[in-house]
């Protein structure tokens, strides 16, 4: 009886693995395709019939181009710097705002909420020229802060955090305040850790979005010393031209930091232990 149940459990587990595999592979396929493509030569892209695998996995020409044609190391540093700056400030600001929307009642609450949410609905490109004027007047062109400052208002993150905060048990706050916690202490020491999975997910989102930003970083920097990775990659390829392999190599190289970040924070995506402790 016990053995039978065990077999059944194992079979279910195997079935689950197969199912996940069958779903995950098509999802990740374009990434694999890009990776395989980065080892091809220009000629291989138009050979018939189309092949999945490159002639040789030792053809690193495209990667050599990506890292030698432009000062890619410097670009990586700039991308990392601006991205870290945006992640830190954007998340802090949205956590603060989300806290107010989740735990306080005040007169302009709904209006302000929609007002902040509204920033998501305005196409960024209508804002570029005026923002350039502002940033230029503040003397922030060619700085990391200039690249980052236009992305500090995170409406989407604020919205998600509000959703998460309202789900956190009310008792948590009452207990904390009875213990003499202030707003700030409660928010940063208790609430944020409890909602860690959401914060981490949003961190990933903000990181990736900023890491892949192109137009604004290009606009607000003039010198090679301040350029970011995405701008560097575009330099290697014409808008509609033929250097597929180099673009794909650039894309694969640029994917490394976000993926590494994900692997590091992956384990923190599960709810933290505080939760069980409080609901008692």
């Amino acid at each position: 009886m016990n053995a039978r149940r065990k077999i059944r459990k194992n079979a279910r587990s195997a079935l689950w693995s197969v199912l996940c595999f069958c779903l995950a592979v098509p999802v990740v396929f374009p990434v694999l395709y890009a990776f395989l493509g980065s080892f091809r030569t220009a000629g291989e892209f138009s050979r018939l019939p189309p092949a999945l695998f490159p002639d040789s996995f030792l053809n690193f020409d495209s990667y050599v181009q990506v890292f030698t044609r432009v000062p890619m190391a410097r670009y990586f540093l700039n991308s990392l710097g601006t991205t870290a700056l945006v992640c830190a400030v954007k998340l802090c600001l949205s956590i603060l705002a989300a806290y107010a929307f989740a735990f306080y009642d005040f007169r302009l609450k709904n209006l302000l909420f929609v007002l902040i949410l509204g920033t998501m609905m305005l196409p960024a490109d209508t804002l570029i020229i005026t923002n350039y004027r502002t940033v230029s007047r503040l003397g922030l062109t060619n700085t990391w802060l200039g690249v980052a400052v236009v992305s500090f208002a995170g409406a989407s993150q604020m919205f998600m955090l509000r959703q998460a905060f309202t789900q956190a048990p009310r008792a948590l706050r009452d207990a904390a305040f009875l213990d003499g916690c202030g707003d700030m202490r409660f928010l940063w020491r208790i609430l944020v850790p409890v909602c860690r999975p959401v914060v981490i997910t949003l961190l990933m989102q903000v990181f990736v979005a900023q890491w892949n930003a192109y137009l604004w970083p290009l606009m607000v920097t003039d010198s090679d010393a301040m350029r970011t990775v995405q701008v560097g990659i575009t330099m290697l390829t014409g808008a509609e031209d033929t250097n597929y392999q180099v673009v794909l190599a650039g894309a694969c190289a640029a994917m490394v930091p976000p993926v590494v970040l994900f692997i590091t924070v992956r384990n923190r995506l599960t709810a933290s232990m505080t939760r069980g402790a409080v609901s008692d």
Binding site: S13, A24, P30, T201, V259
Partner: protein, 301 residues
Amino acid sequence: MRTVTLGADRGISARARAGRRMKPYLFILPILLFAVGFVYYPFFRTFLYSFSAVNVMGEITSFAGFDNYRYLFSRREFCAAISNTLRLTAMNVPLTMLITLLLGRLLKEKRFLCGLFETMIAATMAVSMGSAALTFRVMLNPTVGWINSVLGIGVRWYEDRNTALYGILLLTVWMGIGFNFLLFLAAFRNVDRDVTDQARLDGAGTARVFFSVELPLVSPTLLYALCTNTILALMTSGPVMILTKGGPSRSTTTLIYLMYTTGYGSGNYAMAACVAAVTFLLTLAFTLAGLWADGKRGDAK
């Protein structure tokens, strides 16, 4: 220390109460500053354009009333853009949500190889729009693409006016999978085990537990995903710009793409402002409807 503070609080209770009233505003102030300074202020400048005659240098030359809007609404491209955008949204949002809900629920329990699958799916969100579009262009190329050749089909994807929009849909859905998956994964893992176990003990099957216990518990995430995916879908432009330029025969022209061609691409900033304003109103209407419906549901509870 604590008692001292409490005592001081009691002493100036009127001021403290006023401070308490101000508190939420203080929390919101920083984000609001940036929202106004870098989003609303520039937008209102361009918004004025939509009621003016604007020259190619971006200078307002005269007041134009609703002329710009009238012209916009009379364009065939505009009707195509509205219809394409709405169709794209109507297909994109449910598809993205269904796929990622399924994936998130499947990977909820930590089992063998779970981390690998998680990383595989989440990795897709690291790809930039430009690279993703290019990958799809090569992959779905009717002559040299691997997909058509392996499936033995002759679909012309981005070159045929009957299929191009679905090609765009495919890319936009794919782009949304990574992040939405992570959201739902986090939400499902946050559902208290005790609650689901209790439901199971009461004799509910997996499907029943999913629909009547887990889904309601992740509904705040669901609302968020619904709203943001709708907003993003209504504002689709990147893939169109890179892959199809709105063609063939206007079949993939979307609102924001139209803003580029009719506005910036054609030196008509007033028209860009009109399209942006129309898109804003449309998006706002959808979002408010979503929030309102959610509020209703919350009240009914």
